[in-house]
Symmetry: C2
């Protein structure tokens, strides 16, 4: 131990212990040495250690139990870094960046589907139209004409919301970050689906929430379990992907959507509805929870990453008035505003027939891919689909007597990428589940890739 | 009080009290009613209240003092919303949006200085060059070629840093937000300058930091005060704007820069250097703290908002390796990445002679404006400049026997906007200080505007 003569001794010892707590060198609720023992070990007075422990307690790093001792508090809300680092290393920020030729892991749309030329025209049009306004600060809430256009589009989805309750965001992940920072208080309980989107899980946890997961059934989360939790505990938020969920591809039945809304009213919690895939329906356009939300219990997040182009980082959020003002304030303190250039060019695109043409084209492409993949997957033994998606980009697949990690590695040897299910789990490692995504693979690749997967499964199953 | 029969009584009461704590209906450390009194008031058993208080304690909303009672904890790290709302209402997210013709409040560069046509060319060039890559997800750390180009530029500023230690950010405010979320732990002590940038103050406070301010002198913060604090307390971060500070316009002397770096080493804290104005020197190019940082104690934030175009939301951050990995991870969980379109177009601009031409032009413009304004300000009685800036966009002005609010309102009647000093203060209301910024006013407006200010000051002084 290095002590210097400048700071009071008790503060130097305080700093050492605090650092160790922050760096997870203690476990939660671990007992610290007794005052006498630590004083002896460091060769200082008991009084010094008393002062050290008092300061640690005041700053909430430890708590005292009468007659028992001093224990490490569970307050280090960023302590889950270590665990996350491991995921980060393997999956480069949640995205699988490995050397694979056929990539069922990537959920970013294939660049071939981007309307590059048309969007370039929009960019040039709005620069000529708006000149320096394009590059000046934009309204933190978002470019007003974009909010107007979104408001009009939402009417066709039975969501009636004036532009002032719409907040433009730099993608769905930012929506989750803004909600976490502005609405979720330390210790608030947030329910998520099991499995769910890892970016949301991490955000809520790091924001200090207590995250609870509820298993997904084929038509939504298990409502019996939800009911039991609500009776016993105060829940603040429910984070759901109601249509073509990531990673399972399932959608909530209308009945379940209405039941959840009724529970939100009864138990006074809010639902964060993350709707990034509902434009990608194969047959029938689904409706959101938000469109049925008569009691203002839904905070709605929509991203344009899947249906348009992810690199634009664009989406919007709808929240009840009293919540939105905090969210907008937090948006300002997060990055001031989303770039005007991107908002204005996108508004021009969205407010033209181009939008309908583009989304229709994408739906046809994904439906075709779904059909090809589904028909091949059905024929692979020792694989079981959790559900048959009616839209979106995913299959959630159960492996019989094979771990997802084994299949992941086996497929990778043949340059085929998949995502192990553990990425989508809060707690338990999800043995035997994988997500297959067909966003970034063409029909011929799907055929080749699933053939390789079939062989890999068969080989592993024989082991 | 509305109780329903579904949840246990103790939980319903818990929820009520928790809500009141969150909404600041209690003050910090306020004593809650005794168990007996509250039970009597609500007509429930004592046991129920015991359970309520136990749960509140477990969730850290309250703490108990033996033999004394139950007190409200200081854990609601978002409690300063109310206070902030007032500022937000008056100053629309920190920017003054009032009906003024001559705007000394706005620190955004005038749109006339934007190189719109040239930048449009860059956009078209990179779209044609990179095609779909422009609109796909960008590396969360930032477009590699932009980091390369920045790294090369930094060499001329005596900052030697490889691209891998550079993180692209969506403006300085995002840099502050990322640092807060990834590095500042609950209860960490952060020192700021007095006066300082309100967006940083709010961010640190909302992140749970204990913010301490130290008065600024003409060559940096008061080092005697800093020394005294460091001897007594553990400080985690120091947030400084070392060149052409906002709002005072002062720069740290080289001597003081070196002293602060030595203190950072001795007391093991980090310096967050926010460098958004140093390109705007009138005569001599200043050097950053980062350029002298031999011990990796400086986290450096640079924004391109003032020197280029703020609506692009672009900047970068340099941090020591072990810190940067957390920051990059947090960037991913904040908004995945900064839009590739903007990064690539800007890289093309920055990596051409256009950059030098543009920045030189801006420096000439601002220097001229400074000279005109300075010569007029000198002649206004009852006004005193805190310092004579050597670069940047601001004057920090002391009013003699006039409150800043009075001058603010008086000037506004004549459609001249200024910023009251209280915006830049952590605690005390800053009577008699105002910031005058000449980013968004042309020479003729400066002349007219300062004439009106002179008249306003004279009138108020006679009252």
């Amino acid at each position: 131990m290095k002590l210097n003569s400048q700071q009071p001794l008790y503060l130097q010892i305080y700093e050492m212990i605090k650092q160790d707590i922050i760096e997870n060198k203690y476990t939660k609720n671990e007992k610290l040495p007794s005052i006498r023992n630590l004083a002896k070990k460091l060769g200082v007075n008991n009084v010094t250690i008393v002062k050290t422990y008092d300061t640690l307690e005041k700053d909430l790093y430890v708590y005292k139990k009468r007659g028992s001792g001093v224990y490490v508090n569970n307050l280090n809300i960023r302590k889950n870094f270590l665990e996350e680092e491991i995921i980060m290393e393997n999956f480069q920020y949640g995205r699988l960046e490995v050397n694979c030729k056929i990539n069922f892991a990537n959920s970013n749309p294939n660049g071939n589907y981007f309307p590059i030329k048309k969007f370039k025209d929009c960019i040039n049009y709005v620069i000529d139209r708006d000149q320096e306004k394009i590059f000046a600060y934009e309204d933190p809430k978002g470019y007003i004409e974009l909010r107007n256009t979104i408001s009009k589009h939402l009417e066709t989805e039975k969501i009636i919301v004036p532009p002032k309750y719409i907040q433009i965001i730099s993608g769905a992940q930012q929506g989750i970050d803004l909600i976490t920072k502005s609405l979720i208080h330390f210790g608030d309980k947030v329910i998520i689906e099991n499995p769910s989107y890892s970016g949301a899980i991490t955000s809520f946890k790091r924001g200090g929430a207590k995250v609870i997961d509820i298993p997904l059934l084929k038509d939504g989360i298990d409502l019996d379990i939800l009911n039991n939790i609500l009776i016993k505990e105060k829940i603040s938020y429910l984070y759901l992907m109601t249509n073509f969920q990531n990673p399972t591809g399932i959608s909530y039945s209308k009945k379940n959507k209405l039941k959840i809304l009724a529970l939100a009213k009864k138990y006074n919690f809010y639902i964060i509805e993350d709707d990034s895939s509902s434009d990608l329906y194969y047959k029938n356009k689904p409706f959101s929870l938000k469109s049925m939300d008569t009691n203002e219990k839904v905070i709605y997040i929509k991203s344009y990453s899947r249906i348009f182009m992810p690199g634009l980082r664009l989406g919007f959020l709808i929240a009840p008035k009293d919540k939105l003002k905090y969210i907008s304030f937090t948006k300002y303190h997060t990055d001031i505003s989303t770039p005007g250039l991107i908002q204005r060019a996108f508004e021009h695109y969205l407010n033209s027939p181009l939008w309908e043409i583009h989304t229709k084209k994408l739906r046809i492409i994904y439906k075709k891919k779904f059909e090809v993949a589904y028909n091949l997957l059905k024929k692979i033994d020792h694989l079981e689909l959790f559900a048959i998606p009616q839209g979106g980009l995913y299959f959630w697949v159960k492996l019989e007597n094979i771990t997802s990690e084994a299949l992941f590695l086996k497929a990778l040897q043949k340059k085929v990428g998949i995502l192990p299910g553990s990425i989508f789990k809060l707690n338990e490692k999800s043995e035997g589940w994988v997500r297959l995504c067909f966003a970034d693979v063409e029909i011929e690749e799907i055929k080749k890739g699933l053939k390789i997967l079939k062989e890999s499964v068969e080989k592993l199953h024989k082991l």
